[in-house]
Structure formats: C-alpha cells, structure tokens
C-alpha cells in the first residue's frame, strides 16, 4: 500500500526550488560544507518526488490531501478533545453559538450541521474564501463525569509547512487556538468565568 502524501503543494514546489538552488550553489564551488548543502538539496528533491516529509509525523503536522469539502484541495488537520463536567445538553447549547465554537479568529462562521446533542459542524470564510471547517462530536463521559467534546478542525494551508512553523513560532498555531477555545468553554461552563491575568498589577512598564 503506498504511504499517503503529507507534503502540501506549496511544500513540494518550495522543496523543488530550494533543492535545486542548494545543489547549484554547492556545485559552483565544491567545499566540504557545500557538499553537505548539496546533500540537503538532494534530500529536499527526493521528498518533493515522494511527496512525503518523514519529519512531519513527529512534529505533529497532518496534511489531508483529499478533504471532504470540495472547495479545498488540501488541508492541515488538527484535533483535540476535552472533558467538561456538565451535562451534554448544556454543553451542546453553549457550543452551538458562533462565539463559543472553537473556530479560528477573524473568520465568519456558518453552522453546516446541527444534530443536538451529538454533532456540530461549521465552515468559516473570509470574504467568499473558505478558510477552515470543523466539527465537534459530543458524547457522555463514563461514570457520570460529564461530556466529552472531540474537535476536528481542517484549515487551508498558506505557505505550506513554513506557514505552520511560523504560526508555531508566533505562539498562535491553530492547534493552540483550538485547545485554548476548548478550555475557555470548559472554564465558562464549569466556573462561570475565565481565569485571567489581563489587567493585573505588574512591575512591567
């Protein structure tokens, strides 16, 4: 069985350009260091050829080359889950509103699937461009421990894996946004407020 591709189109193009550039640079004046660069270039070309980067899995980057939404050619998948110590109907009613859905910031959300109190799905656009889509599956936690919310979010990659790396460096990766939003939902539902330090005293000026 062929292993699934995990490079985005932007990645493959970038790897070809980068790989060739590295090899050309190395061949113009071969030194030990540049031979290493040529090796790296060759590796990039090989990955572009196979469509797989073996580092993506350990880094937690998941590419979906055949997303369910036909408007997307490929997506990056992030998933998370949270257990909220409240009854399922209450959790569902809370998450149903656009403000409380664990969607990414700055995008207009439209609910596409609404099966109370089990499933929610949405699509988010900026202008008329699809930006991401997501779904939530709710089920009762065992032993009366509340509700388990499993979230899956697929977003359209801009800038391929470089874009992902950048969003991680800036600390606002979709993975983190998803986790923070789920925690926000739990906090509001369980405690009635969101723990914060915004506006507290500090010695910073």
């Amino acid at each position: 069985m062929p292993r699934p591709l995990n490079l985005t189109r932007a990645d493959r193009l970038g790897y070809v350009v980068g790989g060739i550039a590295l090899m050309v640079w190395a061949l113009r004046k071969p030194t030990v260091a540049r031979t290493g660069a040529a090796g790296l270039g060759g590796w990039l070309l090989y990955q572009a050829y196979t469509g797989r980067n073996p580092m993506f899995k350990p880094l937690g980057i998941r590419v979906n080359p055949q997303p369910a939404d036909t408007e997307a050619n490929e997506t990056i998948v992030v998933e998370d889950a949270i257990t909220i110590s409240r009854p399922r109907a209450e959790v569902y009613a809370f998450l149903q509103t656009a403000d409380n859905l664990p969607s990414l910031a700055g995008e207009a959300v439209q609910i596409t699937r609404d099966v109370a109190p089990d499933e929610l799905a949405w699509r988010a656009t900026r202008g008329d461009r699809l930006m991401h889509f997501g779904s939530l599956a709710l089920r009762d936690a065992p032993g009366g421990r509340g509700t388990i919310v499993a979230a899956r979010l697929e977003y359209l990659p801009t800038g391929g894996s470089l874009g992902i790396a950048l969003s991680h460096l800036m600390g606002r990766s979709p993975q983190r946004v998803l986790g923070d939003k789920l925690r926000r939902a739990r906090s509001l539902l369980e405690t009635g407020e969101i723990a914060t330090t915004n506006g507290q005293s500090t010695g910073r000026r």
Binding site: R186, Q200, R205
Partner: protein, 388 residues
C-alpha cells in the same frame, strides 16, 4: 502599592506598581498583613524555573484582610481576616471535586505552556512563573485572589498573623508529605531537608503516629531545631554517611518512608558537582541528589514522599531500585484547600504553633536583602516573614 518584583536571576526589587483590581466576579482583593519567602521562591530567585518575566510580582504565602470582593463572592466580606492558599482552584472541575485542588483544570490561563513541558497542566499558582499562570503574587501590599469563594479561609481573632500565615503553603505541604507516607505504628520516617517544610513534615509525621523521625541536613541550626522542637534524630550529611547511618538506625532495613523536602537544588558532595555541571550546561534542569538518596535508603516496599519542588528533567534516576524493591513514589503540589480547616483546628487546639520556624521578621522593603540572606542561610536564617 509596593510589591516585590522579579527582575532577573538573583535580582528582585521592591517597586511601586498599580494596585490590583477585581477582574472576575469571583475575585477578591486582600490587603496583605504578613507574607513569607518560601524555599521554592529561591528556585525562582536562582533562575532555575523557566517562564519568569521581568516585573513579575513574587510571593505565594500570604494572609491579610479582605478589602473588596467581586459580584459573585458571598462568603467573604471586607474586613474578614483570611489566609490565602497558594494553589488557585475553581472548586468546580473534576479535580477540585476530588479535593485534588492543585490539579484544578480551570485556573491556569497559560495551560498550553504547561502542557508543552509537563503533558497536562496543573493549577495556576500565585507568583510562580508564567508556566503556572503568571499570576501576581502576595509579596505586596495588596493581592488579587481569584476564585476567592474556594481558597481563602477565615481565621479567628485569637490567633496571631504568624500563627496562621503558614496555612497558605508550608504547613499543609509538610503535613501532606507525612500523610503520603501512610504511617503505621512503629514506623521510622526519614526526612531530607530541615527547612520549614521539613520541620513541618517532621512535626506531622509524629502527629500521624511515627515512632521515630530522622532529620537529614547540613545546617546545625536546622538539625538542632528538628531535634529540640520535635525530638527528631539528626544526621548531618557533611559529617556522616547517610545511607550507612540510616541502615544502622533502622536495624539494617531502612526507613519505612522517606520524605524529600529538598527538591531541585540539592547539595551533596560529588553528586552535587555532577548534577550542577549538567544543570549549568542545560543537560538536565533539576539536581535530584536528595531524591536519589531517599530512593536508595528506603526500606523495600516503602514509600518515597516528594514535597520538594522539581521543574523538569533529572538524570541517573534509580529506576531499578524502585522497581525491584517495590517502592512507591507519592508527590504533588499540595492540595492546600483540603488541609486548611483541619490544620487550623490543630493550631487552635494548641497541637502545633507553626510560628516556631520564623527566625527573621523584616519589612517588605527589605525583601532583596531577605532573599539574599535566606538563599545564603546567613544569620542562621530558616524562615523570613515580611510585613508590608
């Protein structure tokens, strides 16, 4: 207001900062009457804990008077005298309902950071790095207390500030360390580290029925206090071989339980040098000298109770000893809210007066000097209380 701010490794300053405001309905503002420097604050002071930012207000042991409450607070009123527990806990989540307050799922706004380092996030803690929420601490004239309907405990007028202050952290911490030993009749408990937490662990071990308690440290004044205040048997590890001494004391079997009240900055001989070098090179973050020794010393089938703070990774961990000799490790940031009321009752009954550990009383403005003195154990310093 005046507040103790962290600036850099070995650099804390008392500065004028804005007064705290109510930010959430379940907040309260407390005017701090007494606050203490914790041994774990020295880890921040020494720069061993990641996630500190210049300007952070320090302090997680404090008590004082309620001056303002948020709209959802019904149990506290301005004028109430309260002690504030160091873990911030919501009281509603899975863990809080199990009385595992230091694991509260809703009180760390920076949970994602803690998840990166530790897998899952524990609760937020006052003045203890952004990994644990970046909350402003209580070494200040005023402090904002989130979830004030769950944490703070009102204290009766008959007790002094110093008698109740340590309910905020170190008394429950020492108590939980002893409770985790599951002490049976005839048990011998060994305690590594005779700082304030070690002292309270020793006291609690006797309270919970230990036959003998062995106190291990290198500072004569601390060993003396352990012996005179509670009747512990001292071992000075700079003079004696701890493992050999414990073996002899316990009739060749080892202590039934061992308490590590030291944590990530242990000192001892060669092992210290090995770990200090690795720590400096960032090959490990914590120096587990006491923990290793406690594991090696413990009798087979016994318990190692870890009260000392660890932050990250350790090396040369004796997993083989742990496994082959059926040892149990029990640990955790203290679930302070669980212990405050029963321990307050013990203080009221006169079973323990926690103020015996206080060696220095200073003004809040003298905090930089107090941190230095406590770190370097100058003037036989065991515990410093700051009065704002």
């Amino acid at each position: 207001m005046r507040a103790v701010c962290w600036h850099d490794k070995l650099d804390v300053r008392v500065e004028n900062v804005p007064d705290p405001q109510i930010l959430n309905p379940r907040d309260a503002i407390v005017r701090v009457k007494a606050t203490a420097i914790c041994g774990s604050d020295l880890h921040l002071y020494g720069g061993f804990v990641p996630g500190m930012v210049k300007g952070d207000i320090l302090g997680h042991e404090f008590m004082g008077e309620v001056v303002e409450v948020g709209s959802a607070i019904k149990n506290l009123h301005p004028g109430d005298r309260v002690v504030v527990p160091f873990p911030i806990a919501c009281g509603n989540c899975f863990f809080c309902r199990k009385a595992l307050f230091s694991l509260c799922e809703n009180s760390n706004p920076n949970a994602w950071m803690a998840e990166k380092v530790w897998g899952y996030s524990p609760c937020g803690i006052f003045g203890y790095s952004h990994l644990l929420g970046g909350y402003a601490g209580g070494q200040a004239e005023y402090a904002r207390v989130p979830f004030a309907d769950v944490g703070p405990i009102k204290v009766p007028a008959g007790l002094t500030d110093e008698q109740v202050l340590f309910l905020s952290d170190i008394l429950p911490t020492g108590y939980m360390a002893a409770e985790n030993c599951d002490i049976q009749r005839g048990d011998t408990i060994a305690v590594w580290g005779c700082g304030p937490v070690g002292q309270f662990a020793i006291a609690a071990a006797f309270m919970l029925g230990a036959e003998r308690v062995i106190a291990i440290d290198r500072f004569p004044e601390r060993l003396r206090l352990a012996a005179t205040a509670h009747g512990a048997e001292p071992i000075n590890y700079t003079e004696d071989d701890v493992l050999a001494a414990l073996k002899e004391i316990t009739g060749g079997r080892g202590p039934d339980a061992c308490i590590d009240a030291v944590g990530m900055e242990a000192h001892a001989h060669l092992a210290f040098a090995y770990d200090r070098v690795k720590q400096a090179m960032m090959l490990e973050t914590d120096r587990p000298v006491a923990l290793r020794e406690a594991i090696m010393a413990c009798r087979s089938g016994g318990t190692i109770s870890v009260a000392g703070v660890y932050g990250g990774m350790i090396d040369k961990f004796p997993a083989g000893t742990l496994m082959n000799r059926s040892l149990t490790i029990r640990t955790g940031q203290t679930h302070v809210q669980r212990y405050m009321r029963p321990l307050l009752e013990r203080i009221e009954k006169g079973e323990i007066d926690p103020s015996f550990v206080v060696t220095h009383r200073m003004a809040l403005d003298d905090a930089p000097q107090a941190y230095r003195m406590f770190r370097d154990k100058q003037d036989d310093c065991i515990k410093v209380v700051l009065k704002p």
